[in-house]
Symmetry: C2
Subunit: 623 residues, 2 copies
């Protein structure tokens, strides 16, 4: 634990069980890509399993992160080295946020100041701009090394097995055997991936979002009303990445928005997203009608200088679409969407975000902020799924994508929401088609409305499915959705539920290295290596705690059963014994039966079987 007194920030540090931080060095010494190596029991006779590591220096015993100092600014050399940025005049001297004196006891400002950078002149300093010029940046190489982890070993294993053991249903995604830096570059250039990396967030460990990479997850954090503090939200950020969040969005509202964001950014190794409209609304005292392009623009620049990596902008919610929402069961359920709707209706004017979208892009490209085009008209109920309002906005997001791409801005597209199972695929298909394969980033979707308190589950179902179909990043939903602000436990539950959804999707897409962890934990399970099973689990603490509730004795960690079935009924124990005793006999039997003719041995399902099964997903007998 790492406790800071003023403000009293305590974040969880230290390695996960049986895990070590390792670094893979790239083409230059300062590209040091972190991975988590899980060491297994000697009896396993397996090398440590490397898994993707989002946890930053907080799990590195060699590092000593100090929340008041912030993380090392290791990207600075890369950014400055490109020779296309300059310090912003007076940037560090700007007012630190929204009306800092309008309340007593404001939260403390982050103790250190850094002078912000921006593009020199009207240049583009985006990863997209570099990619289109054929440049592989250190950021791209960093992301490629993370993504390619384990793939070479999987390919070798496949080769040893005679090839063809890879399986999966990709729905058109490209899942290469190896991810090269050039592949990352080309995906970014094509707009199929984004690498969110503001030049003012040099603490970042770069990662890439796109359907031809591992499926990512985002965790929302942030203060609301007076329900939380900076200390709590910084803790939630570190806690969320400890369990696997690939990005975090700071959705703080109310007071001290600027200061909260600064503390989070300076301590975050993952990309940080925001919704600038929230701060703009605070600036105008919470009166949506008083918003203006000028207020919004200044807010955006303020956040750009702080280092926000991507921003949600609800620019596709247009005045003419609002009548489409009048018959809805749940109207407009996006916060940003409802604010903009109110502004449009009050002024009877087209949205200033829509009208100024090109101006917005000119700001974003000067800092390399990715735009996440918000779905202000996403459905908030099963009844409203896939309605005209939703798809009218999606078409507009496609048009805005092209505007952003022309200006070298990286784009992803936000998606719903509440969608029943049979309407999920059409969301993915329409998004790919309409938005030129820009990465899709969905909230769930929730597959039913009837389980408040369990919406991490209603939505993990939809998230797994849309991730399989091609969604690039899944925004988590916590058990508190619809009911209240998530606390620390909710953040963890939401992250784990979404790691499950993302991993289930990766497995189904046939990512070559995805199954390594499943196979390792299943071997551990069959061999009763309980500690290995815990260490390989997404949540080692909970797995161990559940096991120990009924069998706490230390000796039980090597017992060949658990309390679910007990020793006499443990199938794995019986099966293991039987196999051991009869190993030779079984091999003889196998040969005998194989000689005797194949009809007892139906072949493993083939690609043709899968094709037939999935072709049958066409409607039959439905209305």
């Amino acid at each position: 634990m790492n406790k800071i007194d003023h403000p009293p920030v305590t974040v969880t540090t230290g390695p996960l069980p049986a895990s070590q931080k390792v670094h893979v060095t790239g083409s230059r010494d300062d590209i040091r890509v972190p991975m988590r190596a899980i060491t297994l029991h000697a009896s396993a006779n397996e090398p440590p399993l490397r898994v993707y590591d989002t946890t930053g220096p907080y799990t590195d015993p060699e590092a000593t992160p100090n929340i008041r100092v912030g993380l090392p600014r290791h990207r600075t050399a890369w950014i400055v080295g490109r020779g296309d940025v300059a310090p912003v005049d007076g940037g560090a001297e700007r007012p630190q946020g929204t009306a800092p004196d309008d309340h007593e006891n404001p939260e403390p400002a982050f103790p250190r100041r850094h002078r912000p950078l921006r593009a020199w002149g009207d240049g583009s300093v985006t990863q997209r701009a570099y990619a289109r010029r054929g440049i592989v940046t250190p950021e791209m190489e960093f992301a490629a090394i993370r993504e390619t982890m384990g793939r070479a070993a999987a390919k070798d294993a496949d080769h040893e097995n005679g090839g063809g053991t890879r399986d999966g249903q990709t729905f058109g995604a490209a899942i290469p055997d190896v991810i090269t830096p050039a592949f990352v570059r080309d995906e970014i250039a094509a707009g199929r991936a984004i690498l969110p990396a503001n030049i003012n967030h040099p603490e970042l460990e770069p990662m890439v979002i796109g359907r031809n990479f591992l499926v990512k997850i985002n965790a929302n954090i942030g203060t609301a009303m007076t329900q939380s503090s900076i200390a709590e939200e910084v803790d939630k950020m570190v806690w969320a990445i400890r369990w696997g969040a690939d990005t975090v969005m700071d959705l703080s509202t109310g007071r001290d928005i600027h200061a909260t964001r600064e503390w989070i950014l300076r301590n975050s190794p993952v990309p940080v997203g925001t919704v600038p409209l929230y701060q703009a609304l605070e600036t105008v005292g919470g009166v949506a009608e008083d918003l203006s392009w000028e207020v919004y623009r200044d807010t955006l620049i303020e956040q750009a200088e702080q280092g926000v990596d991507y921003v949600t902008i609800h620019a596709g919610l247009r005045l003419p679409f609002l009548p489409l929402t009048t018959e809805r069961v749940t109207g407009i359920v996006s916060r940003g969407g409802s604010i903009m709707a109110k502004w449009c209706l009050a002024h009877h004017r087209e949205s200033f975000l829509y009208e100024h979208f090109a101006d917005i892009c000119d700001i974003l490209r000067a800092y390399d902020i990715g735009v996440s085009l918000g779905d202000g008209l996403r459905p908030g109920s099963i009844a409203d799924a896939n309605d005209r309002a939703q798809f009218a906005e999606l078409e507009t997001l496609g048009a805005l994508t092209r505007i952003a791409w022309e200006r070298d801005v990286q784009v992803m597209i936000e998606g719903p929401g509440h969608v029943p199972l049979h309407k999920i695929k059409i969301n993915m298909d329409k998004q790919l088609q309409t938005c030129g394969e820009a990465p899709f980033y969905t909230l769930g979707p929730l597959t039913t409305d009837i389980a408040p308190g369990y919406d991490h589950i209603t939505s993990a179902i939809g998230a797994a499915l849309i991730g399989w179909f091609g969604c690039a990043m899944l925004c988590y939903v916590t058990p508190k959705e619809h009911l209240g602000l998530p606390d620390r436990d909710d953040v963890k539950t939401g992250v784990i539920a979404y790691k499950i959804a993302a991993h289930a999707a990766d497995l189904a897409k046939g990512h070559p290295a995805a199954r390594a962890r499943d196979d390792a934990i299943s071997r551990a399970r069959f061999e009763f290596r309980w500690r290995d099973q815990f260490a390989l689990a997404l949540d080692p603490e909970t797995a161990a705690r559940f096991h120990d509730q009924t069998l706490p004795e230390e000796g039980r960690k090597s017992a060949h059963f658990c309390s679910m079935c007990g020793p006499k009924y443990c199938a794995m124990r019986i099966s293991g014994e039987a196999h051991k005793a009869a190993a030779e006999g079984l091999a003889r039997m196998a040969a005998t039966f194989q000689d005797a003719g194949g009809q007892l041995y139906p072949p493993r399902e083939t690609a043709a079987d899968l094709a037939r099964a999935n072709a049958a997903l066409e409607p039959k007998g439905s209305s």
Copy 2:
């Protein structure tokens, strides 16, 4: 709370929030079908919403269930009235279970004895036998009334809206507008559905399992080793049905198996399933090799006389299939499967369950026990999914299904297990094809192996998907799976996760009445009727508790926001206000824009769109 001192059994009684037990009477006065009516706030201006009710008399304030007496035996008149049963000679005098004196302090026997019935002569008293003779039994009518609830209203609403508002993707399931008793009969006669209802379980409230009905869920309970007691397991049964379990399986092992089952059966309004092999193994002192057909047969008859409604029998695990499991990562993970494998290997003989399957059916049909053909070779890991061992057994289950059907026995088929997303549909397709459309009953499937402690989520994802594809009943998985015996909290979590999966599947299949609850809760959400939202939730207690964690004050139950976003950022509040203020203006706008030409208003997705989206589920670019 209803506390019984000896044994000290406490079960949870009383209605759920804002709910009343109502009964719909059928063609005879003693067909009284329970439903739960949820009363909404007067401002909703909606009639009470009726939902499917599995809770039995425990939620009926008019009833006073006494655990030591058991539930009313209301089916007795129906069973005896058919004139085809007779009391079993000496049945009530048989030894009450497995070696009752072999340990000190045995659990107390159930205080009341009932003389068991069986078919007169070698007749068939199964619902299948009646159905094939064209008879509609009171049980069928009872189940039909439950299933048809809400459908007429949905049809009327559809008609009022001009028709065609129903949507869903059925994958070949027949989803009628109304479920008649004759439809239930015909589905049972065709083998596409089962109505598990042992003539010795007259306490039962009949229900039907089949892919043309609502998707059902099962909760496993039962003692293991010395980890639990009868009192705890009876409590778990009542607790499981309170949250929506459609059936329970008593998987008790160890001591007092007979007594535990008797307490559960006499107090269960839902079908009770068992795995008789567990008790048979206790009878032979836990030595699998000492099992025999005679021991098994006697166990089966003992359970038949007690009133078990369906039994899992691993008769498809054959000696020649065992060599197919040697290369597996997790071998055999079914308890029953591993026991039979051990017996087969020890004796080098074909399974006695397979060889005596016709004899087994002759016993089952004399009591109307459904057979649930166990998947002893189900995959226990992603690596083993859809392998030759699994599908060899499935083919055998198909052959056994035909043997059972010839003898008028009702059949369902158990399925996996651990299966990645892209291999789920082929399981459903193969099962339908191989087993003549007999109902499929799967455990999950779990879509990844890497989340012990969260396998209710890994498996709810797979369960929702296979339920949509046509699986008739989903066996729950609790958070303790792979780790320990589930406690009361785990049972509830497992049940709710599976109610979510089953309901998501029903919605996607287009069950006409399924969406009524989603729409009601979404209207309540949009109108800030918090109490209605809680009452309509699958788990009202958790929803209310989560809300109250941050806004406990009574007045907040009508607040137009929650702590997630606070008042200023509540999209629903803003959207509601904007709509109210601008209602007239919006209507005018809608007319204007519609006049101005349709391109701003993309049509709602059509059946053709869905067909195109789902046709795209064919493999592209996958190996």
